[in-house]
């Protein structure tokens, strides 16, 4: 149903309206970005007024928030968490490290570009991005959802081979179950 990018059924409009105002975030607290999330959620910036709310487990979450650099080891877990999330799901890359490796661009054990491995819907740049930027990122994501074009999960499913290839390139001890839906 996400195939037609510009055409949404009325049901989808309602659904997306609900989805964009109810983003349950699974904050994968890697790197230094994790410290920005509490600030975003608590009283000064209060992301909850936008419907953004923490989720405890991947099964409940809509948004995977990756807050910083990802070592290869961490990547493995992130992929698993992502695959455990239920559709519809979105990924927010948080901070420069997820975009181009940031200050770890030449590290031997971090990945440089997150969207080679996971379909990122929204990047938030900065090192680190301030809560205002984070909120901006969430706003962007809501906008995309409202339009019905935040379809990273769809991409992932379609281009699974590509992602798998990239993932297996860096992750040597590959022991995942198949991701077959």
């Amino acid at each position: 149903m996400y195939n037609d990018k510009n055409k949404q059924k009325i049901v989808d409009i309602i659904k997306n309206a609900a989805r964009k105002h109810s983003l349950w975030v699974l904050a994968y607290g890697t790197g230094c970005g994790a410290i920005e999330v509490p600030a975003t959620m608590t009283s000064r910036y209060d992301a909850e007024r936008l419907g953004v709310r923490g989720a405890a487990t991947p099964r409940q979450a809509d948004v995977l928030l990756i807050t910083g650099y990802l070592t290869v080891k961490t990547l493995k877990r992130v992929i698993r968490v992502y695959e455990q999330m239920q559709d519809p799901k979105y990924v927010i890359g948080f901070g420069s490290c997820t975009i181009n490796g940031g200050m770890y661009f030449d590290s031997y054990n971090t990945i440089n570009q997150l969207d080679l491995y996971l379909p990122v819907d929204v990047y938030i740049s900065g090192c680190m991005p301030r809560p205002e930027a984070v909120l901006e990122g969430f706003g962007k994501l809501q906008e995309l959802i409202g339009k019905g074009i935040a379809n990273g999960a769809q991409q992932y499913k379609e281009n699974l081979d590509f992602y798998r290839e990239n993932q297996k390139k860096v992750i040597k001890n590959w022991d995942f179950q198949d991701y077959n839906w």
């Binding site: 609900a18 989805r19 109810s22 007024r49 936008l50 405890a56 487990t57 099964r59 409940q60």
Partner: protein
């Protein structure tokens, strides 16, 4: 045939009312908590959005039959107990299912839900779920005692075990039981703190340590059912206390006012309290609430 149809219609209306009220109260609670924490907070209808979103999520995986049936059990508990509670005193709008309800039956059907949730959570195999469930059941043993004692005090005092009977006595005499037997009311209120599982008694979900406990493997529709069941259940509990202690409600507005006031007790208590450990939570209920319960029974017997 017609009455059956009316019954079903009435059941659906009651359910919808309970759902709506429960959801709204949940949203209001979030708002209030946010305001207390000096935040703006989500809109009061945020819970509806969340519920709808959860409903619209896909259910791509499951862990077996009990994973499906567990939420169904919870819903059974909430809805059936709703069926047996007189929502309003004059039975004009919701006449059909205000069955000559029995209090003991209600006590039992109310624990049906946690057990069903426990089963559903059990099959997922997540250790956090099991831990959450054990905590929940333990806590339940804690608060059931003062709760039951309060109810027994009422039953003893007015020589009936029927909810409707207790309600009728209040309506006819015009005296609320919360003033007739304040100790029973105190015990019931303190026990209801535990029933709502808001902080400081939120040891079951405990998102920070148990990853939301029994719910941790449930997303999408499962969570939707759980959430709506929780809302209905909140309504059930509030209405029950209103019926038992506060003279019921003759129309919806009074009902909402009374239940909302009642609801504010656990909410406000929760805002200012940090979380208990499990055994602290249990022994909390075996302290003052139990004492109040005892006094309530003695009061009921001798005065």
């Amino acid at each position: 045939m017609e009455s059956l149809l009316m019954n079903i219609l009435g059941a659906v209306t009651t359910f919808l009312l309970a759902f709506a009220v429960g959801m709204t109260y949940g949203g209001l609670r979030r708002k209030i908590v946010a305001r207390v924490q000096n935040r703006y907070g989500p809109p009061f209808y945020q819970n509806f959005i969340d519920a709808f979103k959860l409903y619209s999520k896909s259910t791509a995986i499951h862990h077996g039959a009990m994973h499906f049936l567990g939420p169904a059990f919870i819903m059974v508990s909430s809805v059936v107990s709703l069926m047996f509670i007189p929502v309003l005193t004059n039975n004009q709008w919701f006449p059909n299912l205000n069955f000559q309800g029995d209090l003991i039956f209600l006590i039992y059907i109310m624990v049906f839900g946690p057990l069903g949730m426990a089963l559903g959570a059990g099959q997922t195999g997540n250790p956090n779920s099991a831990i959450g469930v054990t905590r929940g059941l333990s806590q339940m043993v804690g608060f059931e005692i003062p709760w039951v004692m309060a109810l027994i005090a009422l039953m003893v005092q007015y020589k009936t075990t029927s909810i409707t009977g207790l309600l009728d006595i209040q309506v006819q005499s015009g005296h609320w039981f919360m003033f007739e037997n304040p100790f029973a009311f105190s015990a019931a209120i303190l026990a209801s703190l535990g029933m709502f599982r808001y902080s400081p008694f939120d040891i079951v979900g405990a998102p920070t340590e148990l990853a939301s406990g029994p719910m941790s493997e449930n997303g999408g529709k499962f969570l939707f059912v759980m959430m709506s069941s929780g809302s209905v259940f909140a309504f059930v509990k509030l209405t029950l206390i209103v019926d038992l202690f506060m003279g019921g409600a003759s129309n919806l507005i009074i009902l909402v006012i009374k239940t909302f006031l009642l609801y504010m007790i656990p909410v406000t208590y929760g805002i200012v309290s940090p979380r208990y450990r499990t055994e602290q939570s249990i022994t909390y209920f075996w302290g003052w609430p139990l004492f109040f319960g005892l006094i309530a029974i003695i009061y009921a017997v001798f005065f």
